[in-house]
Amino acid sequence: MDLNTVWYFIIGIVLTGYLILDGYNLGIGILSLFTPNEKDEYRKQLLAIIGPHWDGNEVWLIVFGGLLFAVFPPVYAALLSAFYLQFIVLLLAFIFRGISIPMRDRYETISWKKFWDLCFGLSSFVIVLLFGIIAANLIRGIPLNENGMMKAGFLMTLNPFAFLMGFFAAALLSLHGAIYAGIHGNSDIRRFIFIMTCIAWAFTLVLAILAEIIIFNYAPGNVVKDNPVLFTIFLLLLIGSIAYILRSAMFSRYLRAFFASIILIASVVSLLCLYFFPYLLRCGADPSKSLTIYNAGATAPAMIVILILTAIAMPIVIGYSIYVHFKLKPSGLVQSGYY
């Protein structure tokens, strides 16, 4: 395995890590939009559940961005400038999600709280929707010129498939968030969470099947022929984890469901990577202009330097993150409202 492929894997793992960790925060954000209007304590509890970790989880996105910049600079440059307005809206949504958490607790007025709850929920939804939209356009392929820069407008990227992927992402992360809330929520919110889990599960299933069929047709190679073993493994993991989530949620075994949900997200990302390897930004019209892990990589010395830094930092990060997750269980923090 060459250096570029190693980096493709690491960046894929960091992206998966981000989706798993911040995914539950974003999912809970989306769920908070569906809480019954009069149940303020539901929203309070949902916020308390994500309280201790949302910020640390967001760092995975920063590291993802930093690594992409360092290892595949042309991709970082082309991707972000190609989806200029989408990324701007995404960043603004991140700002609003972040500040609505401390803002909400400042006043006890109902309309004040309602405003910031809406702000929190909508910004979480917009973030996830945009993830899906951007992913869909990468799957379809974008028009690139000789310099590897996109030449197309904002509206072109808003097509039906993009929205399908956006809603799929929203369903998937809502399911993930609901399960996480199921682990840590107390008894009065359990019923609400169970209903949400079921709805999100149904949406995830339907949208996953639709998305899978479309993506299969967009894929540049024939993955079934090229990589039958990996393809079968990931597909089985995907189907198995979806089934297992419903089964364990039925029996309120949310911790097991959460592990299944992690496998679900990881297998979705893995399948996408499998379909499009070694492409990073695929040019739909002229594949020779595409950015791949080979023509868009940093130089070998740069890749090695970052590999060493990552090998030093990430095991330590993962170590203390796990330690802190076990040390700080969100349950019972509902009253603390620190902000």
Partner: protein, 444 residues
């Protein structure tokens, strides 16, 4: 295309200035908070414990605002400055990735423990968490200053096929300007944090709220503020200026307004800048001092603006004024904190009401000084984005239209204005609420 470049520059200026407001405060407060928490942990004094809680709350709000606006900064290199990112990514991406891995994780993960573990976890562990948060914040300052220093004094790279490639990583990290810049910046933010803390405690004293907590913390803050203000003048400020003189002659010529190259160049003490050609009116100068300050030798020549074409020089008025206002404010902080330290004798400070009012009014000034310092650095680096290597005009995204940047610039300006207002609102209401009264036994 030039319009898109200009608008992107404005957007970067707006977003970085607002982001750096929060950064200055959080980075400054965290060091003082660390001091407070250390004293609290060692002495088991409830006054210090309550002070730690109070400033901890202020810190976390600042941190959240800094974190969310910081996300914008990282991705803006790609959205607006794609040509730069593509050109320099082989070198420039690494410090950004390292910043995330080595510092943001440390900072935000342990901040979770510090805040949410308050009432449940052992105090030693909480102290360790605040130490990790402090180190994380400081490491992140280091790595981002590595990136900035490399743009100012690039080193350790080669240019091949029109792109920068990494040659010597240790030279990329340890460029000529990293250490002066790191210490100059860190000391500046600690001054800001200390004087911010002093101002808030002065407010509490004036309002007669939780006087014990306010007094103890005020004493600590004013002494730290004085020591750091003096250190900022010498050695750190002096070191930074000499570094600029040695490595960025165009910037140095403009900040010191060296109109023509001559022997025994005078140091400008005061002057009003006028453009076309750039020169000073009503100026007061000390002969020969500039050569000595820049090179420790009055016979070493300082290159003047006459050695360059106007296109090679940064904007004159803005750079000159920012630099001198920053220096002026720095001197003011020495005077204020020095006077405050003198007044600690027999606790006179608490009887001088006007001085306490002055401390409250002083709160925004260090933040302004930090902004001015960065304007000097960044505007003074123009027309280069990477000094001597890549011009700013060639760095912007070519596939993003001026209209798109205009839309985003309007959105950012509007929203950043609002969130700054939100931040001030949150901090003011937090301060009004004051520390928890000492009588409250809940918690510790």
């Amino acid at each position: 295309m030039t319009d898109a470049v200009l608008l992107s520059r404005w957007q970067f200026a707006v977003t970085i200035c607002v982001h750096f407001l929060f950064v200055t405060l959080s980075l400054g407060i965290i060091w003082l908070l660390f001091a407070v928490e250390t004293i609290a942990w060692r002495t088991k004094d409830r006054v210090w414990e309550k002070a730690g809680r109070f400033f901890g709350r202020i810190f976390i709000i600042t941190f959240v605002f800094g974190a969310v606006t910081g996300l914008v900064m990282e991705f803006q290199f790609g959205t607006n400055w794609a040509a730069f990112s593509d050109f320099a990514g082989d070198v420039f991406g690494t410090p950004l990735a390292a910043e995330g891995m080595f510092s943001f994780f440390l900072e935000s993960v342990f901040l979770g423990i510090y805040i949410f573990g308050r009432n449940k976890l052992p105090k030693g562990l909480l102290w360790f968490s605040i130490l990790m948060v402090t180190l994380g914040a400081t490491f992140s300052a280091f790595w981002i200053l590595v990136a900035n220093s490399w743009m100012n004094t690039p080193d350790g790279f080669l240019i091949s096929q029109g792109k920068i490639i990494l040659n010597d990583f240790s030279k990329v990290i340890f460029t000529k300007s990293i250490w002066p810049r790191f210490f100059h910046t860190m000391d500046a933010v600690i001054i800001s944090g200390a004087l911010f803390m002093a101002g808030i405690c002065a407010y509490l004293c004036l309002k007669n709220r939780e006087i014990q907590i306010a007094r103890k913390t005020l004493k600590l803050a004013i002494v730290v503020g004085f020591i750091t203000s003096v250190l900022e003048l010498y050695p750190f400020g002096d070191w930074s200026a000499r570094q600029v003189a040695a490595t960025q002659p165009t910037k140095f010529a403009v900040i010191e307004s060296v109109e023509k190259t001559q022997k025994r160049e005078p140091l400008v003490i005061f002057g009003v800048p006028v453009e076309n050609p750039p020169h000073l009116i009503y100026d007061i100068r000390v002969p020969g001092l500039l050569n000595w300050m820049a090179f420790r030798n009055i016979d070493t020549q300082v290159k003047g603006m006459d050695q360059y074409t106007p296109e090679e020089l940064p904007p004159y008025t803005l750079t000159f004024v920012s630099f001198h206002l920053m220096v002026g404010l720095g001197l003011l902080f020495i005077i204020i904190s020095g006077f405050g330290t003198l007044l600690l004798y027999k606790e006179l400070i608490f009887r001088f009401k006007w001085f306490l009012v002055l401390l409250v009014l002083n709160i925004p000034l260090p933040l302004i000084a930090c902004q001015l310092g960065w304007i000097t650095t960044e505007v003074g680096r123009q027309p280069w984005i990477i000094y001597g290597v890549l011009k700013t005009s060639q760095a912007a995204s070519i596939n993003v239209s001026a209209q798109e940047v205009l839309i985003s610039l309007i959105l950012f300006s509007f929203l950043y204005f609002i969130i700054t207002a939100f931040y001030i609102f949150l901090i003011v209401s937090q301060v009004r609420r004051g520390p928890e009264p000492l009588g409250n036994l809940q918690g510790y």
